[in-house]
């Protein structure tokens, strides 16, 4: 049975090789259809992966509140006079959130400034991130070396800091950094550890690894670094950690209500990474549907092209069909023969398309920063669709061939 099938396929391949140019042109529609689908899916998948990774890095159990400059307007002018120049999130907000919303596990403040950091070797413009000892947990930081600063150090406003690997490489190109000191605005801070932005779910992007980050205790920053000391707001960011993902929407809503009732102006922004993730997935789904429709149309056109050529082939080979029928071929033998030929065309086209579709994203990724991911599903699916096209669009010509009257066919 297998040998027989092999012979039918061999015959089909042979017939296609007799008309190389024609066969190639015929499968072109499928080649480009499949190729573009896989390539576009790879780009889309790469983009969405990147998006969900950066969202996931924010933490799926977190609700993030950011201080924003209040919108300008008649109402805001009035309030601005009352509150001098300050706006945004303050310690009282932190306390209210921590004490009134039961599903909150921790509230973690953060502020960020850019400043010069000096080591014995060099001076680097770095991002200073004033934070608490809970940062590794809340922000998903991974230990590379040393330790993070402790609760006690934070409370005392100790002169300690933690570097990102990128910053460490710049400040201390040779040898160990832990235990050494760096200088910010005339004060010295002891480096206690190296931490890098960690796994945000699946895999790491090296994009975040390249940031020059310096973490220091909140209190230290407020008391020693002028930018933090004279800031118009207490916190740039409050990261509110819910007890688990289930509570995230409720916590988000509760914070919204709380801040709305206590702030005159909308000088904050609430970000729920979980919701962003859902939005990103929805966008990706829409993108896939649109892509699928375009692909469907191009594959349909490709399939019609194949059918057209197969109908011409059937006419061209009418006599052969007559001979085969006279020599004992049943109708279904003829159907199988032509169907196999069509499937060979569409599958070959599909394979070439996959080669193109896998190759193009790699070229894109190597030439640009755009990440691409060719998913195995898209490859398998393309192959299955190619097969299906061969069968669907091959059936009609094959039937036509089988239904020919052998006597007429022999006379053709």
């Amino acid at each position: 049975m297998f040998r027989r099938f092999q012979r039918i396929v061999a015959l089909g391949v042979k017939n296609l090789f007799l008309h190389k140019v024609r066969s190639l042109l015929t499968m072109l529609g499928i080649v480009f259809g499949v190729g573009s689908v896989i390539a576009m899916l790879a780009v889309g998948e790469g983009a969405s992966e990147q998006a969900s990774e950066s969202i996931a890095r924010l933490g799926s159990t977190n609700v993030i509140i950011e201080s924003v400059k209040p919108p300008e307007g008649p109402a805001s002018q009035q309030s601005a006079q009352q509150n001098s120049n300050s706006f945004g999130l303050f310690e009282r907000d932190l306390r209210r959130i921590a004490s009134t919303i039961p599903a909150v596990q921790a509230v973690h403040p953060e502020s960020e400034k850019t400043d010069e950091v000096t080591s014995p070797a060099t001076q680097v413009q770095a991002i200073l991130r004033a934070t608490t000892s809970g940062a590794p947990e809340v922000r998903n930081l991974a230990r590379v070396h040393g330790r993070f600063f402790t609760d006690l150090e934070e409370e005392r406003g100790a002169a300690v800091c933690v570097l990102s690997p990128a910053l460490r490489r710049k400040l201390f190109p040779f040898g160990n950094a832990v235990g050494k000191a760096v200088r910010i605005e005339g004060d010295f801070y002891t480096v206690v550890g190296i931490y890098r932005p960690g796994d945000a779910g699946e895999g790491t992007t090296d994009g975040a690894d390249r940031e020059d980050l310096l973490y220091l205790p909140y209190r230290s920053a407020r008391s020693r670094v002028s930018d933090f000391a004279y800031s118009q707001t207490d916190y740039d960011t409050l990261v509110v950690r819910a007890k688990d993902t289930e509570h995230v929407p409720a916590v988000g809503a509760a914070i919204e209500a709380l801040l709305e009732s206590t702030h005159d102006l909308k000088d904050y922004r609430i970000i729920v990474p979980l919701e962003l993730l859902a939005q990103a997935r929805e966008t990706q789904r829409l993108f896939n549907i649109i892509l699928g429709s375009i692909a469907g149309i191009s594959l349909l056109v490709g399939g019609i092209g194949i059918m057209n050529i197969m109908l011409a082939t059937v006419t061209e080979r009418t006599r052969e069909i007559g001979v085969r029928r006279a020599l004992g071929a049943r109708k279904r033998d003829i159907v199988v023969q032509f169907l196999v030929e069509t499937v060979v065309i569409s599958l070959t086209g599909g394979l070439l398309g996959i080669a193109i579709g896998v190759g193009i994203p790699q070229i894109i990724s190597s030439l640009t920063e755009v990440p691409t991911i060719v998913t195995p599903v898209s490859v398998v699916l393309s192959l299955a669709i190619s097969l299906l096209i061969g069968i669907v669009f091959g059936l009609y010509p094959a039937r036509r061939a089988a239904e020919l009257d052998p006597i007429e066919a022999l006379r053709h």
Binding site: R3, R4, R7, K14, N15, L18, R319, E320, G322, V323, R324, R325, A326, L327, G328, A329, R330, K331, R332, D333, P406, I407, L410
Partner: protein, 234 residues
């Protein structure tokens, strides 16, 4: 008397044309062909000889009447059954050879076996033997285009023998050949007949027909006369 290879009784074939008029191609034919017999069918065009050959070849079904081929009434067979009968019991030799152009000599001879699902080594060996028999043992890998008309017809004859058929049907087998190759091919057919093959041949050439045991003369869809020739040994 043993069962004849062909037993036809009151065979009729009518075609309905578009405008409801009916054309009678065969108008009641009775014919027996015994095993090992060589019968020629003659007649002008429109006499019904082609229709008769198509019915004998199981390529078409009669409107009425019975056709026993090797004891089975094939008149009522369906399309698949007729395909099976063609593949197992019949060998065809056509005027225009009807070889499949993209296949080699050997592959052309193998075609009927493929539909018999006979892929045995013995069957393949037989194909080579038959190619030897018709004198093309050294051209197995040639394509039909590379062969002369006479050679192509010899390939077709080998192909007609590959399933060891009960009956060989030849439709003007020498119609496209020059006289030298015609003699060669006819000699080959005579030889097959001498070896006991039953042959029915349609021809319009009296000299060709004269080599048969009997000549069936047809006109207007009927058998007018059956002539026993001098070569008849039955």
């Amino acid at each position: 008397m043993p069962e004849p290879v062909i037993r036809i009784r009151d065979l009729r074939k009518t075609y309905r044309l578009g405008d409801d008029s009916v054309v009678t191609a065969l108008d009641g034919v009775d014919l027996d062909v015994a095993s090992g017999e060589h019968v020629a069918i003659m007649g002008s065009s429109g006499s019904g000889k082609s229709t008769l050959l198509n019915l004998l070849g199981c390529l078409d079904r009669p409107t009425e009447g019975t056709y026993h081929l090797g004891g089975d009434d094939v008149a009522g067979f369906n399309d698949d059954e007729l395909s099976l009968v063609r593949g197992k019991r019949l060998g065809f030799i056509f005027q225009s050879y009807q070889l499949i152009p993209q296949l080699t000599v050997l592959e052309n001879i193998q075609v009927p076996l493929f539909y018999q699902h006979d892929e045995s080594a013995a069957a393949h060996a037989r194909c080579r033997e038959l190619a030897e028999l018709v004198g093309l043992g050294d051209r197995l890998d040639h394509r039909p285009k590379q062969l002369s008309g006479g050679q192509q017809q010899r390939v077709a004859i080998a192909r007609a023998l590959v399933n060891d058929p009960l009956l060989i049907l030849a439709d003007e087998p020498t119609g496209n050949l020059d006289s030298a190759t015609e003699a060669e091919v006819l000699a080959l057919i005579d030889r097959l007949n001498d070896e006991g093959r039953t042959i029915v041949m349609v021809t319009h050439d009296e000299h060709v027909a004269a080599r048969a045991d009997r000549i069936v003369h047809m006109r207007d869809g009927r058998i007018r006369r059956i002539e026993t020739t001098s070569v008849a040994t039955v």
